[in-house]
Symmetry: C2
Amino acid sequence: MTIYDIACKAGVSTATVSRVLNHTGRVSEESRRKVEEVIAREGFIPNAFAHSLTTKRSHTIGMICPVISDANHAYPVAELTGQLRENGFEVLLISTGSYTESKRAGFASLINHQAEAAVVIGCSEDEQEAEDFRYAAARLPVFIVNGRVEGENIYSILCDEEAGACGMVKRLADMGRRQILYLYDSDTYSGHCKRRGYEEGMRRYTGEEPFTVRIVGEETSSFFQTKETVSRLLAGRPFDAVLSADDSLAIGAAKALREAGRDPVPMIGFNNTVLGRCATPELSSFDIDMKQLCRLTVRTLLDVLQGQTAPSCLKLEGKLVERASLLDFES
Amino acid sequence: MTIYDIACKAGVSTATVSRVLNHTGRVSEESRRKVEEVIAREGFIPNAFAHSLTTKRSHTIGMICPVISDANHAYPVAELTGQLRENGFEVLLISTGSYTESKRAGFASLINHQAEAAVVIGCSEDEQEAEDFRYAAARLPVFIVNGRVEGENIYSILCDEEAGACGMVKRLADMGRRQILYLYDSDTYSGHCKRRGYEEGMRRYTGEEPFTVRIVGEETSSFFQTKETVSRLLAGRPFDAVLSADDSLAIGAAKALREAGRDPVPMIGFNNTVLGRCATPELSSFDIDMKQLCRLTVRTLLDVLQGQTAPSCLKLEGKLVERASLLDFES
DNA sequence: TTGAAAGCGATACCAC
DNA sequence: GTGGTATCGCTTTCAA
């Protein structure tokens, strides 16, 4: 069923049907009624491809997200998808299997499918990836949520996690802790920022050598791995507090301490996930306010698509949410 | 840049370029080389819309998922998206904001965008929704992951959660528990199955009246709500075990007991999420093997798209994963 | 207000 | 092997 069939049955031309469909141009009340009636009766749904082919607008936004099943990614995907839809856009989702996989093919798909823009959840810090971004940006605007790549037509919307991590170290130092262990797993841009912040904080507030440990294992729920790793750590260099790049790691560490019969130490995670609330004691966590990041991303995207200029980098502050994992140590 | 430009620069016709692009028909080695060279040099990416318009194949699968940020949904979205991509399909994602929102508009979008099939994560049990499914199924095959709707061109792939829930009650009854509290939140098809299973189990194995409590609150992380609700419950009808429709609820219940200074009781959750592992004690949970469900969904989808017949309903068994929340009570 | 017709970018049949 | 051309479904001048 095409616009042509509708035109015949309604006794008008395809041009008129098109006008009715798009609420464009002037159509007599009578024609409109007739056409709408036929469309409803036949349950006609126009072909968006043919539409896009002529209008050169796809109303489609491409979204690239490594490992959506990671709750930290699922949330922005949900939030962005919903908001974009409210603004009349469909979302073409590309889930690269891992954090390290090249985004090149994904970008090519999006371009092939005429996406009007690409939204990417997070990014790495390596040059290869930056090139993929620039390759894509040559053909459509690219928006990075919680990541940063510099370049023409690339917009980064992120939280200042470096300052955040640095502040967390200060918070722990203010509690008298000096030997702060830093746990991390992924090697993303965001990960690097946090780590730099931690190192800076150690330098400024404790004067101790940084003590960072990378958890290697499956990419999601690496907290099983953490428990094991931290258990081994207990025999080595001592630590009196833990800062971790993600809630799950901190929870794994807490479990390791408990199982080893050690006293708990103050702990802070990142991303303020529901995991932290499930844990006992409830975990303090740095909240990067992803909701706000998403809002700003959509706003920036809409602006850019309307030809307005927008800042190429938007950096927000996050805040620490304090719970038992810290408060228990305040006397 | 179009196929026409490429044809000119390569000194061949558009037909030849098309052949090279699609690896179809015969093309002389020389022409192929020439065309490929120009395509690479110009960084040409063909317009998928124009392609689809003529071939009548979009290579796009629509996915409807309420509340992706719910980890139980994020996982299948990730899994399916990855697998479909491996099979040459793009995914058009529609995230309806809530479990109750009508899927009608979503289906219409998918049809409008020429999706070749629709995959839906979960479903409700009401007739209105079933009609939306049938409306969509009249135009494209519809696949439901962990949900069930009967109808032509609708395929359901699910776990037998009714039997699962019933078995969990038996497990608890075998431990000598009779007053088993059932917690649930959402009113989905899957939710109804579990509840029926619980009620059946109570009848068969305990002879007690079912004791079900619905947790009302935000749609995600309803475990805050649970803690509160269960705290109030402690003053009323006594219970000596908890079965819950989702891990988060059970965790909330465990916290409520602990905070009230009550003795713990055996608890079982559903979906075997990472939340259960974060909790203390670690939560036992019924695993519906979502990975396998996703695999079967993709396989069924591919079969149907190739014109082969496929069973309209595939029901798998799940299994209980026992952890401390049960094992601590085995003497 | 309406309709005829020329595209949009690719495919595919049919001659050559 | 190759190229001309009709075609896919819809939009958009341009005349009437």
